[in-house]
């Protein structure tokens, strides 16, 4: 298992971060423990430590994302790395350069780490297979496949508020079908031993074989929310609303939007999460998003610490 996993070296250390699938529990816990140290760095006068001084990190985004790119950039800068942001979607590929040519050119500029987002599933894996030894690749989201740092920051957030995974009920609600975030969450939560993992959504937005991952599927939101400790809402992407999968955004909100009434069905101390950016009034109601059970803003803050943890672990390899 470990041998065929390109993310983990023969010595058990993290070499790349491509997916939370198959990532050993021990390594996940190591990342979360390391992130603990970096949360405190964000609370100081000087929010910077010298661990990656002299290292060069390329944020290579073949698909646009201002927020994710920004959190990676802040994380790298707080570790004292030099960061170069490349919006490749708008440059070389338009001139016909292949994915690997782009990466090889950057590698020739002495890159130590690549943070890659791509609309095609598997692109970061391909890059990881072709970089020089010692160069690390972090998947910042590929197609519908994975978004591992998001999955890890979500389990970090859950651990922060709930301490222990071993008796939790967690529900992921909404467009699971198109969500790489949901996949990364499911693998990370399963690895950490969450006993009751649920996905809630309309049949058209739940992948056919998702139950094989060990999750329970609910099409009725009221049923699915009962007894939950953690409610994770997913973003409903605008482009899905007009297609055949959904009648309308209003209809979706009525059935699967998280309102205070629906949230009351979960445990009274349940936390509400969302990977952002939120569609208020589509998947989540404003009073819930801004309410006392919402931990959506802490997720963003923890996200920087978790990305610092991953980068520092990869940067010492």
């Amino acid at each position: 298992m470990t041998r065929s996993n390109p993310q983990v070296g023969a010595d058990g250390r993290l070499k790349h971060l491509l997916t939370t699938e198959g990532l050993p529990a021990e390594l996940v816990r190591h990342i979360l423990d390391t992130a603990d140290q970096f949360v405190s760095v964000g609370e100081r006068d000087v929010k910077k430590v010298p661990l990656l001084r002299g290292k060069t990190i390329f944020n290579v985004f073949f698909e646009n994302s201002t927020r994710t790119r920004t959190t990676f950039e802040i994380a790298a800068k707080r570790l004292s790395a030099d960061v170069i942001n490349l919006n490749v979607g708008a440059s070389s590929t338009n001139k016909g350069e292949t994915l690997l040519d782009t990466v090889w050119n950057l590698q020739a500029m002495d890159a130590d780490m690549f943070v890659v987002r791509h609309s095609e599933s598997g692109a970061p894996h391909l890059i990881a297979r072709h970089v020089k030894p010692g160069v690390a690749v972090i998947n910042a989201g590929d197609g519908r496949h994975a978004h591992p740092t998001q999955g890890l920051l979500d389990v970090y957030t859950i651990r922060h508020y709930k301490k222990d995974f071993s008796n939790l009920t967690v529900a992921i609600v909404g467009d699971v079908l198109h969500s790489r975030v949901a996949r990364s969450q499911i693998h990370a939560l399963k690895t950490l031993g969450v006993p009751e993992l649920r996905v809630i959504g309309p049949r058209t937005l739940i992948p056919a074989a998702v139950d094989r991952l060990g999750v329970r599927v609910f099409n009725d939101m009221a049923e699915g929310l009962k007894g939950c400790d953690v409610v994770i809402m997913l973003r409903l992407q605008n482009e899905r609303m007009n297609g055949a999968l959904l009648p309308s955004a209003g209809e979706f909100y009525k059935c699967y939007g998280l309102t205070a009434e629906k949230l009351a069905l979960a445990k009274s101390d349940a936390i509400v999460m969302h990977p952002g950016p939120m569609n208020r009034g589509v998947e989540i109601d404003s009073p819930v998003a801004d309410g006392p059970q919402s931990v959506i803003m802490p997720q963003v803050t923890f996200g920087i610490a978790v990305r610092m943890a991953v980068m520092s672990m990869l940067g010492s390899a």
Partner: protein, 167 residues
């Protein structure tokens, strides 16, 4: 060898006597994890009972990160008072190469600009690689070049041991 190692509890009491009157009234003690924290707790109890104590984790400023990576460290620095303008007494158990102290100074300055920093060390075992020396010292202790002087805390009692360094 270990028969000749001093009793750390006695050294702490002697150090407290030496430090009394030598550090300013508003000086704050800051111990370096883990051994320095035990020593600092004791000194603080003897010198400034009731005043808050600072604790430093230096992993994020270590200079051997590139070689050995990040230690899995759940402890974080906790400085429960403003560092700006304050006299700080940095406390560690064993002074060896001086690299930990260099890292601790960097970590401390991430919290602010102290008026002055003094260094209190329980045991100096020699072998310095940086220009660091203690302002307050418990004792000089001799151990073999291939040994580490290690402070342990069992049931609240401090003890020294000379331990063969792993290869």
């Amino acid at each position: 060898m270990s028969a000749s190692l001093p009793d750390p509890e006695k050294l702490v009491a002697e150090m407290a006597e030496k430090m009394r009157g030598q550090v300013s009234k508003d000086a704050a003690l800051v111990g370096i994890y883990t051994g320095g924290a035990w020593v600092a707790e004791r000194l603080n109890r003897l010198l400034n009972p009731g005043t808050p104590l600072g604790l430093l984790a230096v992993t994020l400023h270590r200079d051997d990160f590139g070689r050995i990576g990040l230690h899995r460290e759940s402890r974080r620095s906790q400085i429960p008072f403003p560092v700006d303008g304050r006299e700080i007494v940095l406390v560690d158990d064993v002074l060896h190469t001086g690299r930990t102290i260099r890292a601790a100074l960097n970590e401390l300055f991430d919290f602010g600009r102290p008026r002055a920093v003094r260094l209190a060390i329980l045991a100096d075992r020699g072998g310095r690689e940086l220009p660091v020396c203690a302002d307050f010292l418990g004792a000089k202790v001799e151990v073999g070049a291939d040994e580490d002087l290690v402070l342990s805390n069992e049931n609240g009692k401090l003890r020294f041991a000379a331990v063969k360094r792993p290869e």
